[in-house]
Amino acid sequence: GAAGLIPEVGRRKYNESGKQSPERSESFLNEFELRLLNMFGLGRRPTPSKHAVVPQYMVDLYHMHSANGDHSTKRPKSMGKHAERAASKANTIRSFHHEESMEALASLKSKTTQQFYFNLTSIPKEELITSAELRIYRDQVIGPAPPKNSLHRINIYEIFGVPIGSNSTEPLVRLLDTRLVQDSLSRWESFDVSPAVSEWTSGNGQNHGFMVEVLHPEPTEKDAGHSRRRNGHVRVSRSLHQDQDSWPQARPLLVTYGHDGRGDSVLHTRGKRQ
């Protein structure tokens, strides 16, 4: 592929046109190249590797906006209400996977906690993040009939870092969202993490990441092995699940909704205008 956004053919034709001296034409082309990069809000031409993963949720959001004006039919089922409202005002929707090297997984009998750090430094300063959702996938629990009260609670915390001078290694946290879930369903859960992400991206708070806490009902003796499976059904870590192939599409996803002050929202498209 071309080094920049201007196709090699176009670059060559312009250089050979003789309209400018070679130096001038090169500087004109470089200026135009910067103009194109600025139009797309890019620092340089993207060169994605073959392993780049496009989350299905982002493809669903794309199709949702390209529906002819009637978004309700195309709205992804697992889209949080707060996210739908945010999407109607945002002109930029970004998705992030967490840095696996910075995970901190702790799995006890009745509780699993996982710390996630998402690198948000690629969000331009001029982009105001109005909302953000943390999406976590839950597999249906397979196996002997789960106990009747097979409910789990999933808590999402913002991490503030370990208090200075204290002996404990437990970080200071703030609860952002919580949900009681039935483990007999496979589905995405969307949690509203807007307060934390808006602070981190506006420079008013330090991004120490999130902590996800999954509380399982007290396991009885007979389903001890079962509780190991139940821990793994909330996809918070690659290691908690045998099926590694599905991890790239089932791993946690942070989605931010923002506006850079240029143009309409993503959901305000020609279709809607017509």
Binding site: G1, A2, L5, P7, E8, G10, M39, F40, G41, L42, G43, R44, R45, P46, T47, P48, S49, A52, V53, V54, P55, M58, V59, L61, Y62, H65, S66, N91, T92, I93, R94, S95, F96, S122, R262, G263, D264, S265, V266, H268, T269, R270, R273
Partner: protein, 116 residues
């Protein structure tokens, strides 16, 4: 060919209007990082702004006056055929950090042309 050229010379040039233009992102090698759409209908404006300007050419008062002056003094150019209405499109793409972004870009599709 000479006859065709002669005939074309006397043929009135088409007046200002919107023409189809499909931008295929693989033609400009952007398909490596733009996930969707594979291209889009951008359209473009082309054609004459003749004197006297007909109403449907969506001209401003200034363009009407400028084209009137052109009819007496050809040093003053006629009005230009330009987009008068544009609409946005959204692109799903991978940025330079391989993050997936859905972004709305304004003024990417010509909805209407006119003489300005």
């Amino acid at each position: 060919a000479a006859v065709r050229k002669q005939r074309r010379k006397h043929q009135p040039k088409a007046s200002c209007k919107r023409h189809t233009l499909y931008v295929d992102f693989s033609d400009v090698q952007w398909n490596e990082w733009i996930v969707a759409p594979p291209g889009y209908h951008a359209y473009y404006c082309h054609g004459e702004c003749p004197f006297p300007l007909p109403d449907h050419l969506n001209a401003t008062n200034h363009a009407i006056v400028q084209t009137l002056v052109n009819s007496v003094n050809s040093n003053i150019p006629r009005a230009c055929c330009v987009p008068t209405e544009l609409s946005p499109i959204s692109l799903l793409y991978l940025d330079e950090y391989e993050k997936v972004i859905l972004k709305n870009y304004q003024d990417m599709v010509v909805e209407g042309c006119g003489c300005r």
